[in-house]
C-alpha cells in the first residue's frame, strides 16, 4: 500500500521520473483542455447555445462570481489562476470515482506545488496591483514589529494550504482502501460519494483561501457597507 501516488513510478532515468502523480495530472489536464477546446471551438454568441457551452458558462461565471464576492474587483484578471486551481483540484478529486485512479491531490508533492504557486502568485498580484514599495510596506503594518510575524504567517499559511489538501485527500483515499478490505460492499460506495463531496469542498476551500490571500495582498476590498 502506497501512502502517496509519488511512490508509484512507471519510468525513471537518473533524476527524472514518471510517477502516477504526474501521469494522472496529465490525464486531468488532458480532459480539461480537450473538453474545453471541443466546446469552445464553436461557441455561440446568440441566445441559442449548446448544453456543454451552457455548462462551461455556468462554471466560469460561478467562479467569476465567487472571486468577486470575496472582494476582488477585477475577477477576469484572476480567473486564469484561481479558476485553474479550482478546476484542477476539483477534477482530480472527481476522478476518484474511477477504479485504479490515484488523485494527484493525494500527493503532498502536488499540494506543495500548488501551495508554492499560491505563495508566489500572492506577492506577484500584490505588486502588480499596488507596486513593490506599497506591497512590502504592508508587511510592516500596523508597526514594523509585526514584520517577522507577517512573514511567518505568510509561510505557515502556505504550508497549511498544502497540508490541508493533502491530508484530506490522502486520508479519504486511505480510508476508502481500508474499508474496501474490511467491508467490500455498500459502505465503500457511501464513502466514495462522501469523498466526492469532500473533494469538491476541498477544491472550493483551497481556491477561496487563495482568493482571500490575493485579495489581502492587493487590498482590493469592497467598501464597508454603511449601517
Amino acid at each position: 500500500m502506497y501512502l502517496s501516488s509519488d511512490d508509484i513510478i512507471f519510468w525513471q532515468w537518473v533524476f527524472f521520473k514518471l510517477n502516477a502523480t504526474i501521469v494522472f495530472t496529465w490525464l486531468v489536464m488532458l480532459v480539461l483542455v480537450v473538453g474545453s477546446w471541443l466546446v469552445t471551438r464553436k461557441l455561440s454568441t446568440g441566445l441559442h447555445r449548446s448544453r456543454w457551452q451552457n455548462l462551461l458558462e455556468i462554471i466560469v461565471m460561478g467562479i467569476n462570481q465567487q472571486i468577486a464576492e470575496v472582494g476582488l474587483r477585477r475577477p477576469e484578471v484572476y480567473i486564469g489562476f484561481l479558476g485553474s486551481l479550482f478546476l484542477f483540484v476539483g477534477m482530480a478529486n472527481i476522478f476518484t470515482l474511477f477504479p485504479g485512479y490515484e488523485p494527484p491531490t493525494g500527493s503532498l508533492s502536488t499540494t506543495t506545488a500548488l501551495a508554492i504557486c499560491v505563495f508566489v502568485a500572492v506577492p506577484l498580484f500584490g505588486i502588480e496591483a499596488s507596486g513593490l514599495r506599497e506591497y512590502l510596506r504592508a508587511y510592516m503594518k500596523p508597526t514594523f514589529i509585526m514584520l517577522p510575524f507577517n512573514i511567518i504567517s505568510e509561510v505557515s499559511r502556505t504550508l497549511a494550504l498544502a497540508v490541508r489538501l493533502f491530508g484530506n485527500m490522502m486520508s479519504g483515499t486511505v480510508i476508502l482502501a481500508i474499508l474496501l478490505t474490511i467491508t467490500p460492499f455498500i459502505f465503500p460506495i457511501v464513502m466514495s460519494a462522501f469523498g466526492l463531496l469532500m473533494g469538491m469542498v476541498q477544491a472550493y476551500i483551497f481556491t477561496i483561501l487563495a482568493t482571500v490571500y490575493i485579495a489581502a495582498a492587493t487590498h482590493e476590498h469592497k467598501p464597508e457597507p454603511r449601517g
Partner: protein, 258 residues
C-alpha cells in the same frame, strides 16, 4: 519522504501550462462569448426600447387620429341625420301634396261622374214620369197629357189669389213686349184660344201672345214677359224628387269622399 521535489517542480510546470491552456481554450473564449452576448442583448434591448418608444408614439398618434376621426364622424353623422330628416320631411310633404292633388282630382272626377249620373238619372226619371203620367192620364181621363197640362196650367191661373193676380196684372201690363207662352209640345188651336182667353180675363185687355216650343220644359208650360214668368212643369216635381234623392244619398257620398 512524502515530498518528492522533482514531482513538485514538474507539477508547478504542469499547473502553469494548465493555467495557460485553460486561459487560451476556456476562460477567454467563454468570457468573450458572454460579453458578445451581453452586448447583443443590450443592443437588442436598446432596439426594443427604441421600438417600444416608437410604437408608443405611433399608438399615441393613432389614438389622436382615432379621436379626431370619431369626432368628425359624430359631426358628419349628426349633419347627415339632420339632412336625412329634412329630406324625409320634404319627401313626405311632396308625397302628401301629391296625394292631396290626386285625391282632389279623384273627388272632382267622382263629383263629375256623380253629376253626370244624376243628370242621366234625372232625365230618365223625368221621361219615365212623363211617360207614366201620359199613360195614366190617357188611360184614366181619356185625354192627352198635353190637354191635362194646359188644363192644370189654366186652373192654376184661375186659382191665383187676388194678391198674386194683381201683381201679375201689374207686371204684364207694364211690360211693353209680347207675352210668350212656351211649352214642350205643340199647342192645338183650341188650347191657344183658351189660353189667350184666360190671359185676357186676367189682364182685362187684349194682348198679343207668342207661342213657342221649348223641349227642355218637359211636359210643362209657362207664361213669361220681360223677365217675369208663371209656369208649371213636370220638371218641378222631378226637381223636388232630385232634391229628396240628394238628401238621401248625402251620407253615402260623404263617406265615399272620406
Amino acid at each position: 519522504m512524502l515530498i518528492d521535489w522533482f514531482t513538485v517542480f514538474a507539477q508547478i510546470i504542469n499547473f502553469l501550462i494548465l493555467v495557460w491552456l485553460l486561459k487560451r481554450f476556456l476562460y477567454r473564449p467563454i468570457l468573450n462569448a458572454i460579453d458578445a452576448r451581453e452586448k447583443h442583448i443590450a443592443l437588442a434591448l436598446a432596439d426594443a426600447d427604441a421600438k417600444k418608444i416608437e410604437a408608443q408614439q405611433e399608438c399615441d398618434e393613432f389614438q389622436c387620429k382615432n379621436a379626431t376621426f370619431e369626432k368628425q364622424r359624430a359631426v358628419y353623422l349628426s349633419q347627415m341625420m339632420v339632412e336625412v330628416k329634412e329630406e324625409r320631411q320634404r319627401l313626405l310633404d311632396a308625397a302628401r301634396q301629391e296625394s292631396d292633388v290626386l285625391r282632389s282630382r279623384q273627388q272632382q272626377a267622382w263629383v263629375r261622374e256623380q253629376q253626370s249620373l244624376n243628370d242621366v238619372l234625372s232625365r230618365n226619371v223625368r221621361e219615365e214620369v212623363f211617360a207614366i203620367a201620359r199613360k195614366t192620364l190617357t188611360d184614366l181621363a181619356g185625354a192627352t197629357l198635353e190637354e191635362r197640362v194646359v188644363d192644370v196650367f189654366l186652373r192654376r191661373l184661375h186659382e191665383l189669389n187676388d194678391g198674386d193676380r194683381v201683381e201679375l196684372k201689374s207686371v204684364f201690363k207694364a211690360s211693353p213686349r209680347l207675352l210668350y207662352v212656351r211649352s214642350a209640345f205643340t199647342l192645338s188651336a183650341v188650347h191657344c184660344t183658351r189660353i189667350e182667353a184666360v190671359i185676357k180675363e186676367i189682364l182685362g185687355e187684349e194682348r198679343a201672345v207668342q207661342f213657342e216650343i221649348v223641349p227642355a220644359l218637359i211636359s210643362g208650360i209657362e207664361l213669361s214677359s220681360d223677365g217675369h214668368k208663371l209656369a208649371w212643369s213636370i220638371a218641378d216635381y222631378i226637381f223636388s224628387l232630385k232634391q229628396s234623392l240628394d238628401e238621401r244619398l248625402k251620407p253615402e257620398i260623404e263617406m265615399m269622399n272620406k
